[in-house]
Symmetry: none
Subunit: 216 residues, 4 copies
């Protein structure tokens, strides 16, 4: 769970080395990272109910007030922790071939959602989003919209390559591919194996008159 050295407020902005502990240059990078790490360690170890502001503060060796200064809720902390980790865990490969791209991506998505540490945080956050509409909105704009972009990427590339006919409703097609995976993970709790994801891809290809490649 290595973390990039970035502020929350201005994500992506590089920043000079931070050795200070609180001064007019703003927040302590050290405290920020300690908080984020403590939060998702606690989530993985003790589950969502085991994540408390008090617990995060203690484990991070940080004052509670320092957490409240920068985040308003524990789910806010978890979201930031998640956003920093997730980039590493889920990337979209480009093999120049739609079938392979989809197969690979769906397998990795299934693994990410059901088996990775980040996936555990994701499930916790998506669960919390059901209880809290404002959080849901925030989570969508900060993560899910990007994620849907990534989900759509293989199809967009295929469109550009001419593998798919123009005029397709990419959003709806993507939902048909991804939906069942999320469904199994979040609702039924069944394992999402390769056969399952491959079958989703096959159905998609068949639907668009493409042939499934041999199993890899």
């Amino acid at each position: 769970m290595a973390r990039a050295t970035q502020t929350t407020g201005t994500p992506g902005t590089g920043r000079p080395a931070a050795r200070h502990h609180g001064n007019r240059h703003g927040r302590s990078e050290q405290a920020r990272l300690a908080v984020l790490n403590a939060a998702d360690d606690l989530l993985v170890e003790k589950g969502f109910a085991g994540v408390t502001m008090e617990g995060i503060a203690t484990r991070a060796g940080v004052a509670k007030q320092t957490i409240y200064r920068w985040w308003s809720t524990k789910t806010g902390v978890l979201m930031d922790a998640f956003l920093q980790d997730v980039a590493e865990d889920l990337t979209v490969r480009d093999h120049g071939d739609l079938a392979r791209d989809l197969r690979t991506y769906l397998r990795e998505l299934a693994w990410f959602l059901s088996s990775s540490d980040s996936g555990a945080v994701f499930r916790a956050l998506i669960a919390h989003a059901q209880h809290d509409p404002a959080f849901a909105e925030d989570f969508r704009s900060r993560y899910l919209d990007d994620q849907r972009g990534r989900d759509r990427l293989p199809l967009e590339r295929a469109l550009e390559r001419g593998e798919l006919v123009p005029g397709l409703d990419l959003a709806a097609e993507t939902d048909q591919l991804m939906g069942p995976v999320y469904y199994r993970v979040l609702v039924t709790g069944e394992p999402v194996g390769q056969e399952f994801t491959d079958r989703l891809v096959d159905a998609f290809l068949h639907r668009h008159g493409l042939t499934a490649p041999a199993k890899d």
Copy 2:
């Protein structure tokens, strides 16, 4: 959210009216119903965080101890409340025609999940299931397994009628139909309109060499 006056223990059994507040004849039906009603009223009014054992007790006019005597957690209460309501809200019609059955059912499922009071409780429970594996297990055996049976019903009937070829993996097919609906409701939060559900049905029919009927 009308509730039948039935005990949990002996569902369907008629029983003499029970208006007592404490007697030697077993639990008070009145208290039980008051608790269940209070719980989902609170959920609908104030959201999941607004449901507390203390709040339920106060609103139901019941002692906290009485709740703890019969349920161990507030989610247990909500589950019982949900189970009693849900039967009324989601039924599977049989038109003797797969295409119509599926279209109708998916529309109703979408409405149930996203717009009904019971759907709100469902979302709360499925969310809680992400945080609590034991509860997830319980929720599946007490509700979701039945629900998946209902989801599969149109396909099973079609199989019997010969509309579908035998040997189909019904579970996987059902997941492809239902998954995207749950996905939109739980994850993206987008509205799940008729076009979306109809498209899912069309894809299914096309996949199995059936023709889509005219729009209704």
Copy 3:
């Protein structure tokens, strides 16, 4: 610091033995006493700043909430603790002789104020009363009015015995006797020895044409 078994709310009312720990019969006598003892132990050991609600709770082995259920402030706790103790520490003797009564009483008052544990609590409370007018009001009606009654007692008895002429402003006379003692204790911090108190009595006696007895 033995404490009588009385409620705060209805002081003086006897109450049946209390073995319970919280039930519909009302508060736990055990908890109440533990809190009062903890409070004045802390005061004596660590001073006023060392008395915190949290500290009282911990030392008394009681939940913070239990303290807040019955008292609203730490000074409220200290006042109750003080009221229970004070009766034992300061009594007015009756020798049937004004001079002796006054001498004895002023010596004991000086000792009480400057050297007893209860006196330490008294000083803390009178100090707090300077900061908090509502508390001052409460302290006066719950303690000081009685205390002034006790202070006046020797003079009243002397009046009845005919040692003093009727029509005396007892309040003002008492203030002249007691005031310098409080002044030394609260303001100058000087020791209040026997010479000092005896001199006050002598001045009083001289002022009213009485002769001072031989030193005892």
Copy 4:
């Protein structure tokens, strides 16, 4: 509460106007005065509990660190504020006549203690002194000793004039005069009217064989 532009360190020394915000020549007079004013404004407006280092800093437009650089506690600040004000509020007049001097002085003392802004600060400080022996010591050496000197002044002058016989225990006599005034202000909270202070003076005069003058 006008304040002279003087440092604490070198009271009475005139100094050039200092409007700077930071230099190598020592502290900012502007900051010092802002702090003292803020402190006793807060005391008068919100009471002792309303005086916080943070609040003083904010109201004075000064950094907290600047306060801590020159004072170690908020009561230290209040004491300095008090010392600067008090000189103006309580002076001892010399009419060349003991009876008049005492009457005037006791009336002014009573007014000072119970009704002036400085008196409010005095009461807060004497209260705090009950809780903090080190502070008490400091308060005595920085203020109370001087004050007792002022209190004694009328008697000393009378001694020099021959109105009183030599060999008198001035300290004890002063305590008998002043004590009841402080007692009423600090303990009973009763108003200290002219009748009360005049009566104290009359008793003193009578005790020393002097005649009370006509009422003025």
